[in-house]
């Protein structure tokens, strides 16, 4: 097994620290990269399965939590252990850590506090603004805020201190101050008034007018939604006037209109990925190298954040180079995308130079310090024309609790708000949203990202509308569903397929729906049976998503792929291998993921913020052919298949077109002037053979050897960027103008090094697209039948069906698996999981899985859960994101089924057995 290529890269950062790579493996210990290159050459494995299959069933070292210094060639032999001490109080002034008492149990070698950070001059990246450690004399900003980092040379001392701190109180607090007051994180208003006909332009929409925010009351920090008296400028007033008019109509008492006005609350939950956050780092002071091993969803961001943290640090605390290595991740669900944890890992190493230091949460600490899902309070009003059954207007007000640090609260607020009308076409919409600070644990990214909350409220309301009118719930949805070309709440149409009608047809025809009456009537004595339906349209992508990918083929036909997307269970490595195989005929046997530092040949640089850049700035920047709007994205927002594989797929197309195809022509003896030489698109692969009608199939190995022999393109490295559309660029390859959905390209000929190609033309998606809420959406509908025991309130899911569409499924088995897993997570969210805010919540450091219940096998209909994935609309329909949408409809479907069974409509989550028992009493 040879180590995959991982070239030295100097990566210039604002801070002047270069991010780069590490040494190669010594002879006996495999390097990190060798371990993480899967499935690995020569490793026997079943014919089907994930590229990481063998590694994961044999317990190979793969996750960040698996690595100790001794496992990494060149690192110190021993591992020291760090412990983050967090405050379980956010209403009293912090007065220090009782080190004397702790020291009697286990004395830390190093103690790092706010004072130390001040002394060395660290900077906190703006995304994590707030003290990394609560200084003495200040009230902690939030429950679970770190106050100190302790480092122990030996594991036993660390372990003793961990238990002592878990079970005892070593933090001193002074006067009661109440919680720290912090302004709201953000407030927005999304208002749309459609024109008189579907074809007419909108009278008002966010995409036409821009996004608007209200003013705030200085006294309380509360947003002022009314257009007067102190709204922020004329833009707000204009939108708010339309918004208030919609509300007035909803409140007019028009008898022709059915109006419902409901409150709905959702709870805070934990992503509960199974591998708690952890990292390992070592600062070699002599060389000035900081080496760090992490498992995150956002590798580029984590490395950049560490570089920023230390970029202005004083002598001995500013590394010359950061070598960040990113491991396979034991579950993410958003909760490992942009967390401050890597900063503490880096600090642990910087404050104990020459030693490898490990920082790892246990589960109590992960509950206390990990990112949570936002709890929402929502008021929703809907107006439906009784005669036609058409929804005429919709208004909602969302308040979401962002917890202690801003993190992703602003964007969760936006995504939740713009997702609030789900699958529907509603001509008048007015949604306000405000993300507030609280002393709770920080909320951030989590699967569903605000839309889980708002679409649950919506789909429960829709069910009530259908019951009240009355009209069949599926017929009502069909009547009001957004059609292809119809406009979203922001005012733009989706630019991808919209298959609501098909999904609704599937739901309607399914036996669970058809038999709902019979099943209800035939309930066992003492039991209630009900059936529920719901449908969700979830955006994927963030409006500035990018991917890096390299594809190489060796003379013997072996394929290697490098990508920057992260494998956290999503099957991205397998998706990369499968998507590349479509173009170059073979499944790679060396795939690396989460790599951000092997693309130096592209010489990329970026400037500005791709979400807020102006058109003029973008046009100017784009003149430099090395500039891209963003370099590498987090693996989140369901972008794995769509974005994460894009660069590698485009690279594979280049390898085929300019390496394998010319080689095949040579082997077939077809001259370049022969018309067939232009028919590359007619050829296809089967069983590692290239097939072209009328010619002998050619084995991949022979083609690869020929491509190397004639110095064709045998490797390509690409960068792709999407702002609701791909950036496109044209490159001169072998004298031909080649246009692809990429904005940077480097190629390798034969066995040469990679060389960058200048793009001759580039078209970045317009900056105005940043006003789009989303242009990409996938759909999922769910049916569920429940059985509730009257006496106990015990609920059993008898049967369920989810139908989804995701364009081309790159790894169909993973798509089904994600749908099953999303279903389970939805069941947990609807029925089991909840974290109280504040002092009784996870910030107190006492939460674990005995108290926090996630769905087990026995909570699920393991043999009665049917998943159907619609085939792509066309052979060339690209992959669409589906990881989030699959967890949404089960939540409202369960509530609707509970209503069908019990006649009780719950307006908050979770609905526990005790609540059901109470409702039935």
């Amino acid at each position: 097994m040879r180590p995959s290529r991982r070239e030295f890269m100097r990566w210039s950062m604002v801070s002047g620290i270069s991010l780069g790579l590490s040494r190669l493996a010594s002879a006996d210990t495999p390097s990190f990269l060798v371990r993480e290159t899967l499935p690995g050459r020569g490793v026997p494995r079943p014919a089907t399965g994930r590229v990481d299959g063998v590694a994961k069933v044999t317990g190979a070292k793969l996750y960040a939590s698996d690595f100790r210094a001794a496992d990494l060639p060149g690192w110190p032999a021993e591992t020291s252990h760090a412990l983050l001490v967090r405050a379980a109080d956010a209403t009293h002034s912090y007065e220090g850590l009782d080190l004397a008492r702790l020291g009697a149990i286990a004395k830390p070698t190093v103690v790092v506090t706010a004072e130390d950070l001040d002394r060395i001059g660290t900077r906190v990246p703006s995304f994590y603004a707030g003290d990394l450690f609560c200084p003495v004399g200040k009230t902690p900003l939030y429950l679970g805020q770190p106050v100190a980092l302790l480092i122990f040379e030996r594991f036993d001392d660390f372990d003793k201190a961990r238990l002592a701190l878990r079970d005892g109180n070593f933090l001193k607090f002074g006067a009661e101050t109440g919680p720290v007051a912090v302004p709201n994180y953000a407030a927005f208003r999304f208002t749309r008034v459609a024109g008189a006909t579907p074809d007419a332009p909108d009278i008002y929409s966010p995409i036409q007018e821009g996004w608007i925010s209200p003013g705030f009351l200085e006294s309380s920090g509360r947003p002022i939604w009314a257009p007067l008296p102190v709204a922020k400028g004329g833009e707000y007033v204009k939108g708010a006037v339309f918004g208030e008019k919609i509300r007035a109509e909803l409140g007019s008492g028009d008898p022709a209109l059915l109006t419902l006005d409901r409150d709905f609350e959702t709870q805070s939950v934990d992503p509960m990925f199974l591998e708690p956050e952890c990292g390992l780092a070592w600062y070699d002071a002599g060389e000035g190298d900081l080496s760090i091993v992490l498992g995150v969803q956002s590798p580029f961001e984590a490395a950049s954040a560490v570089a920023f943290l230390l970029g202005e640090a004083g002598d001995g605390f500013k590394p010359k180079r950061i070598d960040a290595q990113f491991a396979y991740v034991g579950g993410g669900f958003g909760g490992r995308d942009h967390t401050p944890f890597p900063l503490y890992v880096a600090l642990a190493a910087m404050f104990y130079p020459g030693h490898a230091v490990r920082l790892a949460h246990d589960r109590f600490q992960q509950f206390q310090g990990g990112i949570k899902r936002h709890a929402f309070k929502m008021r929703t009003q809907i107006g439906v024309d009784r005669a036609s059954g058409k929804i005429t207007a919709f208004a909602a007000d969302h308040v979401l609790d962002g917890g202690g640090l801003m993190n992703y609260s602003v964007s969760v607020a936006v995504v939740g708000a713009t997702g609030a009308i789900g699958i529907y076409d509603i001509p008048k919409v007015d949604v306000t949203t405000v993300a507030v600070h609280s002393r709770g644990v920080t909320a951030g990214s989590m699967r569903g990202y605000g839309t889980l909350q708002t679409m649950t409220a919506l789909e429960v309301l829709i069910d009530e509308v259908a019951t009240t009118l009355p009209i069949d719930p599926i017929a009502f949805r069909r009547l009001n569903a957004l059609k292809t070309g119809g406009r979203t709440m922001a005012g733009n149409p989706y630019s991808v397929s919209v298959r609501t009608r098909e999904i609704l047809d599937k739901l309607e025809a399914h036996a669970i729906w058809q038999n709902r009456g019979v099943e209800k009537a035939g309930a066992k004595p003492g039991y209630l049976v009900g059936t529920g339906v719901a449908c969700a349209a979830k955006d994927y992508g963030t409006g500035a998503d990018c991917a890096l990918g390299t594809v190489e083929i060796a003379p013997d036909g072996r394929i290697s792929i490098h990508g920057d997307a992260v494998e956290m269970g999503n099957g991205i490595g397998t998706a990369l291998a499968n998507r590349v195989a479509i173009h170059i005929g073979g499944i790679a046997d060396a795939v690396t993921v989460a790599q951000v530092d092997v693309f130096d040949a592209l010489e990329l640089f970026t400037s500005g913020d791709s979400y807020t850049i102006s058109q003029a700035e973008q046009d100017t920047a784009a003149k430099d052919t090395r500039w891209v709007p963003a370099i590498s994205s987090a693996t989140s927002a369901s972008i794995g298949a769509h974005v994460g594989t894009q660069a590698a797929a485009e690279a594979a197309r280049v390898v085929f077109r300019f390496g394998l195809w010319p080689a095949a022509l040579a082997l077939w003896g077809i001259a370049p002037t022969d018309p067939r030489a232009k028919q590359a698109g007619e050829a296809y692969w089967q069983d590692r053979h290239l097939i072209m009608t009328g010619l002998s199939p050619l084995p991949l190995e022979a083609i690869a050897a020929k491509a190397h022999a004639q110095k064709g393109v045998t490797g390509a490295m690409a960068h792709a960027f999407s702002r609701w559309a791909w950036a496109q660029a044209t490159f001169d390859i072998a004298g031909e103008a080649w246009t692809g959905d990429i904005d940077a390209l480097a190629i390798r000929r034969g066995g040469d090094a990679f060389t960058r190609l200048d793009r001759s033309v580039v078209a970045f998606p317009p900056a105005d697209y940043n006003r789009i809420g989303t242009a990409f959406s996938s759909l999922c509908g769910t049916l569920v039948r429940v059985e509730i025991e009257r006496a106990t309130g015990l609920l059993r899911i008898a049967s369920a069906y989810s139908v989804l569409e995701c364009g081309q499924a790159l790894v169909p088995e993973v798509v089904v698996g994600q749908a099953q897993g999303g279903f389970a997570m939805g069941v947990g969210y609807a029925l089991l999981e909840t974290l109280p805010p504040f002092e009784d919540g996870p910030g107190n450091g006492q939460w674990n899985l005995g108290q926090y219940l996630v769905a087990r096998g026995s909570d699920l209909p393991l043999h009665d859960l049917e998943i159907e994935v619609l085939p792509p609309l066309a052979a060339n329909e690209p992959p669409k994101g589906m990881a989030e949408v699959v967890m949404i409809p089960i939540v409202p479907a369960l509530l609707n089924a509970i209503f069908d069974a019990t006649g009780h409509r719950f307006q908050s989550l979770p609905v526990t057995g005790a609540m059901l028992k109470g409702a039935l009493a």
Binding site: P46, V57, T58, G59, P271, L274, G571, G821, L860
Partner: protein, 171 residues
């Protein structure tokens, strides 16, 4: 400190002095570097840390390691995820896990693999009726938490191994 000697995947370890409070999980992961056995909750709630313990009579059971002192394993013989395959040859259960795409992130896989393997070994001694296969698997695996998969494919994989060898497992 207490003396500890045990057998892991057929290999003898110890005797060595071990702190009484050290968990078996930390002993495996921090002292032996055997990180195939995972740490998930530290409270025996998720069972991602379970290993197989072999009884002298040839029967086996799983035991979580995160809440049991290492010293309590003195004299015992255990198997971990690293010990299932021999010379690169995967067991039928490992193969089934891969072929069924049973896991996603894979962090709970060692626990499910050990539990499934113990179930297979029990059924080989004590066959089960075809009609009881699903319930038997459900009961055996229910202690294990998985956040990615919804469990369906784990169950299908274990069932596939049982049904593929009816003479061995079924009445």
């Amino acid at each position: 400190m207490t003396n500890l000697a045990l057998t892991i995947n057929g290999r003898a370890y110890g005797p060595m002095d071990v702190r009484d409070e050290l968990t078996m999980n930390d002993f495996l992961r921090e002292f032996l570097g055997m990180t195939g056995t995972k740490f998930g909750c530290g409270a025996a709630q998720c069972l991602s840390c379970a290993v197989i313990v072999d009884r002298p009579d040839g029967s086996s059971y799983t035991n979580p390691t995160c809440i049991v002192p290492a010293v309590n394993f003195d004299g015992k013989s255990i198997r971990t995820v690293e010990g299932h395959a021999s010379d690169g040859a995967l067991t039928p259960l490992q193969t089934a896990f891969i072929e069924h795409f049973a896991f996603q992130c894979g962090y709970c896989t060692a626990g499910f693999l050990n539990e499934g393997q113990v179930l297979l070994e029990r059924l080989a001694r004590q066959k089960v009726a075809r009609a009881d296969v699903e319930a038997t698997i459900a009961e055996a695996l229910d202690g294990h938490l998985c956040r990615c998969t919804g469990y369906v494919k784990y169950h299908e994989a274990v069932r596939a191994v049982i049904l593929a060898d009816p003479g061995r497992y079924l009445i």
